[in-house]
């Protein structure tokens, strides 16, 4: 076989091998990019209650790109917003949040519009053992009850602006 044919076959084989390596690397990169990040355990427990009680869906943020608020800043902001001591026990993780119950309407009583918070990148701050006031109805003769209940407060802080988005109580 002529030498130039052998050489051409070698070049083709090398090109195929390089292509295969390139495709593999691309697949690995894609998988890495789209991999579902996992919520830390305390936030996994909150995830179910947020969904079933308030229609709030959260997922671990897949990327920290564009995050301008640090975890410590989010913690301080959440504690201050809820009038808790700044050294109170709390933890935060980065999530995307959609609140399906918190929606705008085009007119009173009209068809539900878009969620106010839809796939918003936010810090979810959990503040355990919080006292939450019970704002009871006017009901003369009703039995006396406790004035507050103990819950974990789940506070959402916008990861771009630091804005307080909302907080909900998760009963212990």
């Amino acid at each position: 076989m002529p030498g130039h044919l052998l050489s051409r076959r070698r070049v083709v084989l090398l090109a195929l091998a390089a292509g295969a390596v390139g495709v593999s690397l691309a697949i690995m990169a894609f998988r890495s990019h789209t991999a579902q990040a996992t919520l830390p355990p305390p936030f996994q427990a909150a995830q179910g209650a947020l969904s079933s009680t308030y229609g709030i869906e959260i997922a671990a943020a897949a990327s920290t790109r564009d995050v301008t608020v640090t975890q410590q800043q989010a913690l301080k902001s959440a504690l201050a917003q809820m009038s808790r001591p700044l050294n109170a026990l709390a933890e935060a993780t980065l999530v995307t949040v959609t609140d399906t119950h918190y929606v705008n309407h085009a007119q009173p009583g009209g068809a539900p519009g878009a969620p106010v918070l839809a796939n918003r990148l936010a810090w979810l701050v959990l503040i355990p053992n919080s006292s939450v006031p019970i704002v009871r109805p006017y009901k003369p003769g009703a039995p006396a009850g406790p004035g507050s209940y103990t819950a974990t407060l789940a506070v959402f802080i916008d990861a771009h602006t630091g804005e307080f988005l909302e907080a909900v109580s998760l009963s212990s």
């Binding site: 830390p40 079933s52 009680t53 308030y54 229609g55 920290t64 995050v67 301008t68 608020v69 640090t70 975890q71 410590q72 800043q73 301080k76 902001s77 201050a80 917003q81 809820m82 009038s83 933890e91 935060a92 993780t93 980065l94 119950h101 918190y102 929606v103 705008n104 309407h105 085009a106 007119q107 009173p108 009583g109 539900p112 106010v116 006292s131 939450v132 006031p133 019970i134 704002v135 009871r136 109805p137 006017y138 009901k139 003369p140 003769g141 009703a142 039995p143 009850g145 004035g147 209940y149 819950a151 602006t161 630091g162 804005e163 307080f164 909302e166 907080a167 909900v168 109580s169 009963s171």
Partner: protein, 241 residues
């Protein structure tokens, strides 16, 4: 606790720092609060405002003027709200309004199927002006919706038509959990509830002819209310502070 590298983006950090500062300033006491009495006394629930018994309706709505009431201590609150409540003592409620909760001035919603809980509370940023706070029954899914203006804040996950005694009670009140804390409003700047309405079964809204103003709670007689235009508008306030 998950650790993250702090981003090195000074320009954006500066913008965030400004936002954080605004939040801290808000929490620190901007608003209308005067000086509540101190210390806090017995804890219970104390009311000042309006309600209507035995009226067939499925929604309660009022425009409520904002006011940050003073509170007697870090465990206290003062609030103003609209509500639908079941008639039986053990029935729960769904409400929406605003208040000074333990020092945080916030819009809130709270609902519970039973008077004894569990309770479900949401908080949002402080009110910035008079707003319509209203609760309505959604005949499509059997849930009560808690709304502020054109925004639904939350909805119940149960059907009160199944679990509560009727007719439900529409309520529009200021409330504290200590007589030493203030209901929103002062003598010179009373908090106005206007366009007080109920929703009929067909979804139309109208005034509540049987709306009444019960005697405010607390033996120290600091809570007051008066009609502006009966039965659609009234005011509440604390005096003396």
């Amino acid at each position: 606790m998950k650790k993250m590298r702090p981003p090195i983006l000074p320009r954006r950090l500066g913008r965030w720092t400004a936002s954080f500062g605004a939040v801290v300033a808000l929490v620190a006491g901007a608003g209308n609060a005067g000086a509540a009495r101190s210390p806090c006394g017995a804890t219970s629930n104390y009311f000042d405002g309006a309600w209507a018994l035995n009226t067939d309706q499925y929604g309660a709505s009022a425009n409520i003027q904002p006011f940050k009431p003073a509170i007697c201590g870090s465990s206290s609150f003062g609030a103003a709200w609209s509500m639908e409540s079941g008639k039986a003592a053990a029935d729960g409620w769904a409400q929406v309004g605003y208040g000074n909760f333990q020092g945080s001035y916030l819009v809130f919603s709270q609902w519970t199927q039973s008077y004894f809980g569990p309770y479900h509370t949401k908080y949002f940023a402080a009110p910035s002006g008079t707003a319509q706070y209203w609760v309505n029954y959604n005949f499509s899914n059997g849930h009560l919706y808690m709304n502020k203006g054109l925004t639904t804040l939350d909805q119940t996950t149960f059907d009160p038509a199944v679990s509560w005694t009727g007719p439900w009670i529409p309520e529009f009140l200021g409330e504290t959990n200590h007589c030493e804390s203030d209901v929103p409003g002062v003598a010179g700047n009373r908090v106005a509830y206007t366009s007080v309405k109920k929703m009929a079964r067909d979804g139309t809204w109208s005034s509540i002819s049987s709306l009444s103003l019960p005697t405010p709670d607390c033996t120290n007689s600091r809570y007051h209310r008066n009609w502006s235009v009966q039965p659609t508008s009234f005011q509440i306030y604390t005096d003396p502070l």
